[in-house]
Amino acid sequence: MNAVTNRCAVITGIGIVAPGAIGVKPFWELLVAGRTATRAITAFDPEPYRSRIAAECDFDASAEGLTPRQIRRMDRATQFAVVAAREGIEDSGIDREALDGSRIGVVIGSAVGCTTSLENEYAVVSDGGRRWLVDHTSAVPHLFDYFVPSSIAAEVAHDRIAAEGPVSLVSTGCTSGLDAVGRAADLIAEGTADVMVAGATEAPISPITVACFDAIKATSPDNDRPAEASRPFDRTRRGFVLGEGSAVFVLEEREHARRRGAEVYAEITGFASRCNAFHMTGLRPDGREMAEAIRVALATARTEPSTIDYVNAHGSGTKQNDRHETAAFKASLGEHAYRTPVSSIKSMIGHSLGAIGSLEIAACALAIRHDVVPPTANLREPDPECDLDYVPLEARSLPVDNVLTVGSGFGGFQSAMVLSGPDARGRAAA
């Protein structure tokens, strides 16, 4: 809550495009079942690459309601975001006609924007890399929209929600999905907007992205067993598995939601980001800056570590990340780090870079709604250096009111968000 305005943001709608699950319902079913959606790459021939696996979305843009024109114009990441936003808006039950467009904004997060279309067009303009054709007209006429990914936010804003307030794309690498929602919540809290359509999207499964992670051996080379390749916190983990997808929310000012009788998933009670100023891809082993982000997020939420019922980890499955993060939890949550369940849904849906933070917020909101914590799939051999309760293999039922979710990204970004369910206040008072 903003101390000056007394305003705060609540989630009233969720929309999902995820590997193995288009839509909120199948997404939650997949997570609770502990099912993995990682597989051999089908988007292109992955034969020349070190890592040939990914968590892909079986996404049919036409079946999802996009017109042929929209499909031609929009990058896959944009298509995901527009479809997820439509589901989120419908889920919220908001009546657009009753709203003032100038009080509605959009924030979409994405780490690499329209990279797939950019690469496809590069291949056209360069004749498959053989020679540079000077004829620019050989590329699509809307190439500039791929070049500058604010086009993704613009498409969402121009679609169903018809936003005329602040619209932006947040691009802070793999924390984009957390930071976009954090920014949107701030815009509501400070009074700039009453409704924000906010979330993140990514469709990075293209040769250049696969190659750039190959080059630094960040992605898993477990090509022979794709379903078990994403193994956060497991001793045998070998890197992350690239994913794709989108989660988009309707955020509303709490009173705005109450007045129209909207059903609230959760309130965004705390958010903070810090930078490690250490290395573009490396992490300090002590998790210092992530711990600080968590502390500030908890302080903003005016709550104590002991109230946290569930921690949604970044849990990418790289050697360094999982240790870094475990250290950060211990440093910020103290003894409670050992008591609270921690899990990584990247074990099931891979790591969709900028989108994953929003997909994880969705998992947190649904955990609060259903009082169930999703598991960490594939965690069979615990890493002695990662000694918390990572909810291996099976989902767990427990009362979930306050949730912490974190993200860590290239560029040194460390973000943390606290979400609180509608019952959280009652429980704290009891």
Binding site: V112, F147, V148, E164, P166, A211, A215, S273
Partner: protein
């Protein structure tokens, strides 16, 4: 509620100059830096002019280990960050651990770098892709690299709203200050002319195809025919007045008094553009009336339809010929997100010097625009300036600065 946000330092690299002193001298004398593209062979493209930062030699400013891992625009951003802190007489090492944040805007990231790696991948094979590609091209690169260079561990952000990002970054930085952050380095350095980026910009059909540098970018002119792209930008040190006073900062370029952003309805909807509404909201935020604005730094698109939208917005707010309007970016070209950041710096210098820098090359301003377009340097008592920026696709941002008190 608005604690004062002050600008205490600036680092600027623009086609018009390395550093704000040289830039100011050149814009005041109307010395346009638009010329033929030299960074690649543009001979066969329909547009061949750019505003390049020609005398920037990265090796003179940066350690050699940073060069292979950075795009040209990131190198400029790193140097801009050095200059901004030096100008603020501030050493980041003296800070509380999380005291300084960084928020930058980007438009296409380190695209020249990215283009080279696409060539390596498609022309030679995956094993030839640089180990730095995973971060040298992406949109957050300047924020990450600048934070590492100076040990800045506060809140970090990166926004993309095309040109408007140069103002939106400052808006986000001010939000951090209001949440108690003492200092944020913010702005944008952008735009690497490279063949692939050139093709992408040509696709908009808004780039000028004129070959004479004096005729190519003439916003608000009867013969306006598009824009000339450029490279560069500015990073600014924003502080709460309280923090600036606490550290004994000697200089204030001015205050960031107001800011707002709006978005346009879809083309063809019949609803009006929202640029004027962004300005009104920024003025409200600054608690100023239109008649209290002394000069406007225009977005100055250079395409006739967009120029008309901006002229209409200014007329509706200030009346015909109601406020001096200028576009020094006619000397640099449009620098993507970097452009509006440079405009903020130029506006602050104008307030300090009491001179409105000119718009060049506009010999026949369209009378219908009813703008008081400043085409030669004009002395004036300047206490406030309004800066406008629009991003491709419907983004409108407005920012108000006031002079030091």
């Amino acid at each position: 509620m608005n604690a004062d946000t002050v600008i205490t330092g600036m680092g600027l690299l623009a086609p018009t100059g390395l550093g704000h002193d040289e830039h100011w001298k050149n814009v005041l004398s109307g010395a346009s830096a638009i010329g033929p593209v030299t960074r690649f062979d543009a001979e066969r493209y329909p547009s061949r002019l750019a505003g390049e930062v020609t005398d920037f030699v990265p090796e003179e400013h940066l350690p050699s280990r940073l060069l292979p891992q950075t795009d040209h625009m990131t190198r400029m951003a790193l140097v801009a960050s050095d200059w901004a802190f030096a100008d603020a007489e501030f050493d980041p090492a003296l800070l509380p651990e999380y005291g300084v944040g960084v928020v930058t805007a980007a438009s296409a990231g380190g695209f020249e770098f990215g283009h080279r790696e696409l060539q390596n991948l498609w022309g030679r094979g995956p094993e030839y892709v640089s180990a730095y590609q995973s971060f040298a091209w992406f949109y957050a690169v300047n924020t990450g690299q600048v934070s590492i260079r100076h040990g800045l561990r506060g809140p970090a952000g990166a926004l993309v709203t095309e040109q408007a990002g140069g103002l939106d970054a400052l808006g986000e930085a001010r939000r951090q200050l209001r949440r108690g952050q003492p200092m944020v380095l913010t702005g944008a350095v952008d735009g690497s002319p490279c063949p692939w980026g050139w093709v992408a910009q040509l696709s908009t059909a808004r780039m000028s195809r004129e070959s004479d540098p004096a005729l190519a970018y003439r916003p608000f002119d009867a013969e306006a025919a598009g824009y000339v792209p450029g490279e560069g930008g500015a990073l600014l040190v924003l502080e709460s007045e309280e923090a600036a006073r606490a550290r004994g900062a000697r200089r204030r370029y001015g205050r960031m008094a107001g800011y707002a952003a709006t978005f346009d309805p879809p083309p063809g909807s019949g609803r009006p553009a929202n640029l004027a509404r962004a300005v009104r909201a920024a003025l409200d935020d600054a608690e100023l009336r239109p008649e209290e604005i002394d000069v406007v730094f225009a977005d100055a698109s250079g395409t006739p339809e967009e120029d008309a939208v901006e002229a209409d917005a200014l007329r509706s707010l200030f009346g015909p010929h109601g406020v001096p309007v200028t576009a020094p970016k006619t000397m640099t070209g449009r620098l993507s997100a970097g452009g509006p950041a440079v405009d903020v710096a130029t506006a602050l210098l104008a307030l300090r010097e009491g001179v409105i820098p000119p718009t060049v090359h506009v010999s026949r301003p369209l009378p219908d625009h009813t703008l008081d377009l400043v085409t030669t340097p004009r002395r004036a008592r300047l206490a406030t300036a309004l800066i406008l920026a629009r991003g491709h696709g419907g983004f409108n941002s407005a920012l108000v600065v006031t002079g030091p008190r």
